[in-house]
Each structure stands twice: as structure tokens, then as C-alpha cells.
Assembly symmetry: D2
Homo-oligomer: 324 residues x 4
């Protein structure tokens, strides 16, 4: 890259963070505009915005001014189609009123995205799916779950939409589970303005090789954004980027370069017990070092080894670029 990579992050990184055990939260609640300061302090260039935010009197315009003043972008608007109202599904709910509410919230989110200059509206359908065998009719689930999104995308043809897929959590089975399942879904939705956000951690615990599916999604023309974090391959732990799977993170960043992706990369962390600013800074420092490794890689030698599927030759090349 001619210029230095930018990094962005989710607002949730700096939030209170609650789970089912520490129901008093891992931190004190944090005001939205304070989160802007945190993001700035962390060195980020933009934030992924959960909508609605808790402060009812904070207008999109005012929020945008604060971002502008801090030099931060509104990366995307992420409607909270996973809160209590949507606990049994948003677009795929069995309840027509809930489906309508999801649709309305999506419409509002488009409006907010336009007001704030966000690049896309992101759906994270973490409640859309089921939990038990036999619980749903799969054809029906798809009809509503995909149809609702089709309808929103068709009603806002100038807006870019993206799905962030995930194997599970909070539901045990999700409709947008893997990269390939999401591409099949997108083909069924059948609109041009719907793509995917790939999250390195989601991909890892969906048993994918993140670099491989990044290449696939990009090749199909559906890549909208890229998120980074790490985990132990079994759950969405949202640990700092590069903290566990260094080699696969490196291959992921190599693929980012190979496909010519020059946009900012987003961090999706849940620093339950760490300072969020530190967690972001640690992640960015590691990622920048890994991007420098990628820049040092002898692409010609690597391609030659890859054309023979020569794993041993490849390892020497990687090791020389990566390990001190």
C-alpha cells in the first residue's frame, strides 16, 4: 500500500459489556460520545455504530458532528435486531409484527446512515435461526429471513447492505452461518446491493480458513468489510487480533493485500477484563507488524511454491518473514 492502513472498530468494544453471569456488567456503562473519545485515543479512524444508541436525545447530526470533530468516520450503522424484542428472530420471526418492526428499524437505519455518511448498513442476524431439532420448518424460515432482507434492499436501492455471518450465538443455529451459506442466501435474495462482512474470528470458529473464504467472497464480488479478532476456534471469544492464531492472521492479511483491499480494517473485540483502548492498541500494533511481514514476503517465491502445493517450501518463506 502506498499509504498506511487505517483501522476502525465497533462501538461495543468500549461499552459496558454484560454477559449472563456478570449481569452487573464488566464495566460501568459508557456514554456514546465518550466512546468517540476512546476510539480517537485508540488511534482508530472510524466506528461501527449500533443503532439505536442509548441516549434518546442524541441526534444523528450531533453524533456526526462529534465524529467529524474527532476526525472519525461513521463506518456503518448496525441496527440492534438482536435485542429483547427480536429474541426469537428479526426478519425470520414467526410473528408478523416483529418482522414489521425489523423492517422499520432497517428503514430508520438507512436514514441514519444517510445522515451520518455511513458507508453501509450492517445486519447481524444473531437471533435469526433456531435452537432445537424440529423447531422450525426450514423452508419457511428462509422465506421470511431472506425475504425480509430482500424487501429492505429493494426499497433502498442506493444503499449498500451487508450481513455479518456467524455460526452461532446467541442462538445455537443461525441462518447466516458460514461464508458459503451466506453466499447461497445472497443468491436467493437476488439483489445487487447486499454483500458480506467477514469477521476473522467468526470464520475461524465456523471451521473455515479465513484467508480462503476471504478470497472466495471477494471473487464473488460480495465483500463489503473485514473484521479482525481472535479466538480458540470454538467460540467467538473476541480476543485481541493476532494473540492466538498468528500464522492464519498473517495469511489473512496477505490475502487482503493480494485482493488489493485498501480500505480500513475493523476490530471486533470484547475486552471483558482489559482496558478497551489497550486492547485496540495491542491489536493494531500486532497487525501493523504483520502487515510489514506481508510486505517483506517474496511473492514470486511464494507463488512458485504454492503452484507446486509445496507446504515445506512455503513454511520456510513464511518463517523467514515472520519470526525474528
Amino acid at each position: 500500500m502506498s499509504t498506511e492502513r487505517k483501522y476502525t472498530g465497533g462501538m461495543w468494544v468500549y461499552g459496558q459489556i454484560i454477559d449472563r453471569y456478570a449481569t452487573d456488567g464488566y464495566n460501568e456503562p459508557r456514554a456514546t460520545l465518550d466512546i468517540v473519545k476512546d476510539a480517537k485515543e485508540s488511534g482508530l479512524s472510524g466506528i461501527d455504530i449500533n443503532y439505536p444508541w442509548p441516549e434518546k436525545d442524541l441526534t444523528p447530526k450531533e453524533f456526526k458532528s462529534t465524529l467529524d470533530a474527532a476526525g472519525l468516520d461513521a463506518v456503518c450503522i448496525t441496527p440492534s435486531i438482536y435485542s429483547r424484542k427480536y429474541r426469537s428472530g428479526s426478519f425470520s420471526s414467526s410473528d408478523a409484527q416483529v418482522r414489521k418492526a425489523a423492517n422499520d428499524l432497517a428503514d430508520e437505519s438507512v436514514d441514519v446512515a444517510n445522515q451520518m455518511g455511513a458507508k453501509y448498513v450492517k445486519f447481524w442476524p444473531g437471533q435469526d435461526g433456531y435452537d432445537y431439532p424440529f423447531q422450525v420448518d426450514y423452508t419457511e424460515l428462509r422465506k421470511h429471513g431472506l425475504g425480509g432482507i430482500r424487501s429492505v434492499a429493494q426499497n433502498h436501492p442506493k444503499t449498500q447492505f451487508a450481513i455479518e455471518y456467524k455460526l452461532k450465538e446467541p442462538r445455537t443455529r443461525l441462518l447466516w452461518s458460514t461464508a458459503n451459506a451466506s453466499l447461497i442466501n445472497i443468491a436467493e435474495v437476488g439483489v445487487d446491493n447486499l454483500g458480506l462482512v467477514i469477521d476473522f474470528g467468526h470464520s475461524l470458529f465456523a471451521k473455515e480458513n479465513p484467508a480462503e473464504v476471504l478470497s472466495l467472497i471477494h471473487g464473488q464480488g460480495r465483500l463489503v468489510d473485514i473484521e479482525l479478532c481472535d479466538n480458540y476456534r470454538e467460540w467467538d471469544d473476541d480476543l485481541t487480533a493476532g494473540s492466538i492464531h498468528l500464522v492464519e492472521t498473517l495469511e489473512f492479511l496477505y490475502t487482503v493485500k493480494k485482493i488489493g483491499w485498501e480500505s480500513a480494517l475493523k476490530l471486533d473485540l470484547f475486552p471483558y477484563r482489559e482496558s478497551p483502548v489497550s486492547a485496540v492498541k495491542e491489536s493494531v500494533t500486532t497487525l501493523r507488524k504483520l502487515e510489514a511481514c506481508v510486505d517483506r514476503l517474496d511473492f514470486a517465491a511464494l507463488n512458485a511454491a504454492q503452484s507446486k502445493h509445496d507446504a515445506m517450501a512455503v513454511q520456510g518463506i513464511i518463517r523467514d518473514a515472520l519470526i525474528k
Copy 2:
């Protein structure tokens, strides 16, 4: 069994249930004494009590009276050594003040248990462990994590204590992770009044066969209580008992009978999207049907097949007892 099995449940089954996404909770908050009514309505005979409960003016005595009036037992007191204060560990915290707080809360819990006639004090050390490679010195972690529990147990020699082990969550690595790890820990703690609560679901996702480790824990004289639920072997989904792994639940109940365990069995469910009363009733109905299957099993034929490790013969016996 000469008399019908009793079932108990955790208070949390009937609670609001929050997670990191639906931070407004899956349900409205539920008052402690209303939970007693729910448990009664579900047909339970007792409850596992998280301490402290939210109502500051509710005394143990008053709580106990309400339980007595409903004909319910106080199964155990479970101090909340997993809330914000203990987010980086309770007994194993690196902070001496937090370790002291855990100790004090344990002392209080013993007192409450005595007032309420609870059979044991249960520790669920879900924040005791670590998240990242290199984060802790393992010897030091064990010294504090086991030493703190030893101290409590020695100070209350007439109280029965139990650990509910779990592979992970909320931390990615826990000190009391599996049945065998817990037995090794207990040997190191070195007191007689400390045992284990086995949770079928925790065991399943720790890659154990629950029936096998139930037999092991009982054989070592450390079985204090038994919990039931189900999941997809990768996470503590806390689904209704018998909803997924019917054969392994049957083998678990067969082992319960084989070791002569006549106490109540406890339900550990998180019915995020279902009525808690229904989830408990469904679980109990399934479990009672499975216990009837166990009673129908030809133990002599089964033992004969097992003595030859004859999996095919065993399957016929199980199928005949289980499937309509």
C-alpha cells in the same frame, strides 16, 4: 427406586437472563419470591440459590419461610463469585483484596446456608482462570485458586462444599475445567468436605462421556450433586434435558441408578426464548420417561453384553427399552 425421583432447579432458570447482545434482557427481571412460585408451579422440590439475591431487605429467614410454605428445599447456596468484582478471578485473583472479598462472601454463604438449611455451598469459579497464552503463571494461579478454597473449607469443617466444574465461559480457560482436573485439584486442596457437582452439559462439552465421569467421581467419593441439561457438545447451551443427546442422557440416568443415587436431580437451564416453567416441565417429563426406560432395562443382559464389550448386543437392548 422405591419412591419417585425428585427434581430441583437453579433460580437462574426463572430469571431475566441477559447476554452480551440482548443487554435489555430476554425477559423482565423477576423477583426472588416470585421465582419460588415459578419453581413450585414447575413441580420442583427445591432450588439452587444465587447469593446475594437482588432484594436487600429479604432476609434468609423470610426467604426460608416462603420456601417452607411452598414445600421447597434450599438445595444449596451459590455465592456470586462471578460478578463484576470478580471478573478477573475470585479466589485466584491477582488482587489480594478481591481474594479477601471472595473469602468473606464464602463465609457469609455458609451462614446463609446454615440459616436456610441448605445441603451445601456451591462454588462455580467461572472467572477463575485466564484468557490468553502466557497471561498467568500456572503454579501461582493454582496456589491462590486452590488455597483460597482450602482455607474456606478448613474454616467451616462441618459444611459441605462443592465445585461445579466447566471447561470455559465466561473465561476461555478455567481452573476447574473437567472432572479429572477437578479431582486432581481436590487432591491438592486436601480436605474432606469438598466435592463436585457434575453438570451433564458441562461434561458433554468438556468432551467427556458424562456417564463415565459420573461413575468416576462417585467412585472417588466426591459426588455432591447432579445437574441436567443439553447442548451441542461445543458450548454450555443449557437446552432442555434430553432434547438432543437422548442416548447419552439415558446412559447417565442408568449410571445414576447403578451408583444408587436417590437424591433429587437438578436442572440447569437457560430458557432464553421459552417459558421457564415449560422448559422445566418438558425436561422433567422427558427425564421421567427415560428413568422408566432405565427401570425396564434388563440389567443382567446388559451386564453380560458389557462384559464382552459387545456394542452391537448392547444397542439392541437399549433400543428395545427406549424406542417405541
Copy 3:
């Protein structure tokens, strides 16, 4: 169904079975025509035939006569594109000569299938993929891996081809890994005479719900055959059908009925330590009992509960049909 379901099986079920530890094999080698007798004795109606078979002087015609005499069908021909020659890939090999060999073997298999009246030619590309991060260029891997199969399918437009997908083994990463990945691949191959064989066990350890993807594959018009077995969700253990995941096997058979699939179901077992005939008979007995449960299910009540995503109501219906 008006008539009783037929069951078929893979020839390998009755074979010697070797692995990397018991390199002397779990059994004595078994002659191909003896396997026909075994399959007959097991009550099967047809076999999946690995090609080439070990006896060089056994002609397809002679083999077919033996099958006819036993009243068995040749279900499909499965070319051994996973033996030593193809250890680093068949159609996706980096070696043009190996790719040519795979193509030739496929041509031969079509010829044998025609001679023996087999319904389809099955590819199980277990060596097509990679093992290490950075080992291959994914675009190149797809180009060869999908292109080779396209070429075969186009050269034999009257032959039905099918891929049996699998997450991994023997390679750690496979090109035809999941149902959705395979549907994406098929779309890229772009021919009409290529479909999928879904294996319940492969689906389970690919973290899919087998019933859900069966419905999906059928809905996309790509279902060619169905295989059954069981495992612990983490590996292709090839245990007897219904031995572990009874509820999910029941839902799978319910879906088989729902989509109107009246063809035979195939068994894919590796009875390392059991008599193959017993393993098949045990599986079929269990499956027939489960099919009878499906027939007893109150479809109207089930659909009503499913239309509300009512997991608790569904469980009662399933329990009543399934458990004695």
C-alpha cells in the same frame, strides 16, 4: 411410503479396514464377491462400488451377474481418487499428469457404471484440498478442482455425477467441505448432471444440522443420494446409524419423508471392531423403528407448532412418538 424402505451400503463396510495404527488391518482382506454375499446377508438391496476393485480379472459383467443373482443393485461407482497416486489431490492436483489420471479414471468409471447399470458415478474428493496455511493459491485450486469435474460431466452428459462432501480427512482442509460450499462449487461448475450425496455423519461434524441441509440441497434440485451413520460431531467416526444422535436422525428421516424421497438410503459405516453384518443390521433395525416413529408423527400438530417456532410444544410431540 406405500412400500418398505430399501437400504443399501458401501462395499467398504465389509472390507478389511486399515488405519494408520492397525496397519495390519482390522480384519482379513475380503474378496469382492464375498462382499456381495455379506451385503445380501445383511438385508441390503444394493451396494456402492469402489473402483477399481482389487481382483484384476473380475470383469464388470461378471460382477454384475453376481449382483443380479443376489438380487442387489449397483448403486453407484466410486472411483478411488483418494489412493496413493492422488495423495496430493486428484482433479485439483498441481501435477497435470495426476489430473489427467483422475480424468481417465472418471471416464473408465462411467463406462463401468454403464455396464453395471449403476445410477450414478460418485466422486469423493478426500485428497482435494490442502493441509497448511499458505500452501495453495485458492483461486488456482478451485480452477483445477472444479474445472476437472466440469470437463468430465460435460463429456458424459447422460451420466449423473455426484460429490460426497466432507469437512476434512484425510486432508485437513477439503475443497468440497460442506453442503453450502458444495452448492457454491456446483454453481461454478455450471452443469446439470452434477449433484450431491449427503452423508448424515459428514453433515453432523461439519457443524451442520443434517435435516436442514438435506432440505436445502433437495430444494436446489441437487440431491442424488443419502447416506447414514453416526459420530460424536467432531470426526467421521462412521458408527452405526442412530447409535448416538437419535433425535437428529429422527428429524433427518422426517425430512426424507417430507421431501418425498422414496429411494433407498445408504449406510456408510466403518465397523472397525464389530461384525459388519451386525453393524448393518443394527443400523437398519434402528432406522426402521425411527421411520415408524416418523409415520406416527402428527404432522398437522407438528407444523402448527413449527409455524410458531414453539420448541417446547414440538418436544412433546417428538417425545410421544419416539420414547416408549
Copy 4:
């Protein structure tokens, strides 16, 4: 370390390697004495010897001479208690004759170890366990499985024995499954001359943190040998060391240094599609670079961060030592 670390390897690394699909083997069979040459060429200092080896006329004495001439050690003798005869268990078999055969083979192995100067006799009880729920009586399984090893160990009090534990494969459930299960088993066996071989890959896919259990096993005085390789946390892929989990391999080597283990480290690889000599050399080169990283680590700074469980501070220290 004052002197350079030595590396050893399993004989199987250089063998034919067969699995259930490529039954013609991934390579040509390799003669035992040729494997000695391969090991020498790879730069190893010793080999782990499967017994019996295929050449019936090769005496231990002659084998030993060849090793001596090559300057290689006989690390240990590993009796093949996992071949066809023991397919349903060795010491834990339900068949008294098989148990006797395992005992006899163990006796022979002690004799061969003495003749060849091997440091220990290693049991890898990969067939000792079960496959299905209800298949065995667990108490009985333990009685035979542990009793047989106790008997061997007591009969050869001057010989060091070690168990290499593994979660599964070839059986789906093993008696010596995890580090903690093995320590519990060893306590029940009750002899002093029985310890453990920890394999980094086995530990990883048993859901352990290898560094943590290495520390535990050493702390209990039961560490006999250490093996290295890598995998994807779900199966014993036996990939080259450091190829996937670099950070956890580094923490493992850090722990090796911390406990003062100066013995050779052993490689346990299955290079199905790679040159074994290359796979070993690549592994050793990576491991030596990682050991140099460990030597560069600021132990005082690391300990200070660990004493506060400060994951973010730790990551900076590790990154500086590891990444170029």
C-alpha cells in the same frame, strides 16, 4: 541452556503411512535400517522405536549397532499394543488371552529396551477404551486397563514406563485421554516408575493448554518425555511443529525452559504428502528459532506482568521477542 537442544523423532515419521482411504500407503514401505539413515540425515539425535519392527531377522543388538554407528539414541521402545490383535483393547481387553498377550509384549519390550539402552518403555493405549455409550462397564474397564499396567510396572521396578495420552483415535473414547485423567489413572495404578509423555498436539486437541498441563505434569513429578507437532485443535493431524499454533508453541517452549527440561524434544509427525526429512528439518528449524525467542524473553518483565494477570502487557513482551 548451555548446550544446544537435541531433537529426536518417532520411527513412524519415516514409515510408509497408511490410512483407511489410501490403503496402498502414502509411500513405499521403508526398511527399519533405512529409517535410521533418514533420521540421521534429518539431524535427529535419537528415535522412538515401534516394537516389533517388521524385519523378523533384525536383532535388537544389530539394530543398536546401526544406531550407534549413526550416533543415534534409542529413545524408547513402543510396543505395538494397537495392532489388529489389540483392536478391541490391550490391557483393558475383555479377552483374558489378549490381556496376557499385551503383558507378554510389554515384558519383551522391557528386554529389548534393556538391550538397546532405551530410556523408557512407552505405552500408547490407542485401542484401550470404547466407542459407544453403554458399551462397557467403566469400573471394569479401569480395573483391567490400569491393573495390567500396574502389574507390568511392578514386575520391572527398574524400568521407567510412560503413557502417551490422547483424547481419541483410533477409538472414539480412550482410557488415557487427557493429562488430568492420566494423572488420576497413575494415582490409581500406584507405582513410582510410571509417568507421562506429553504430546503438544494431543494436548491441543484435548482442549488443554499444552503449556499449562506441561507445568502440571512436571509439578507432579510424572514427566518422562515431550513430543511436538501441530494440528487444528480437533484431531491429531501431526503437522509440522509451529506451523499453525506459533504462540502456544512458544509458550510451551518457554515452559520447557522454565521447568529446566534439558533433554531432547521428540517430533511426532505424519508427513502424509511431504518428504519426512524435510518435515523434520522444517520443524526443527522453527523450534530452534522459537527457542531463541524464549532466550530473548525478558523473564523479569514477563513475570511482573503475569503476577498481575496483565494480558495486554504480556502481549507486547511476546510480540517484541517473536515477530520480526
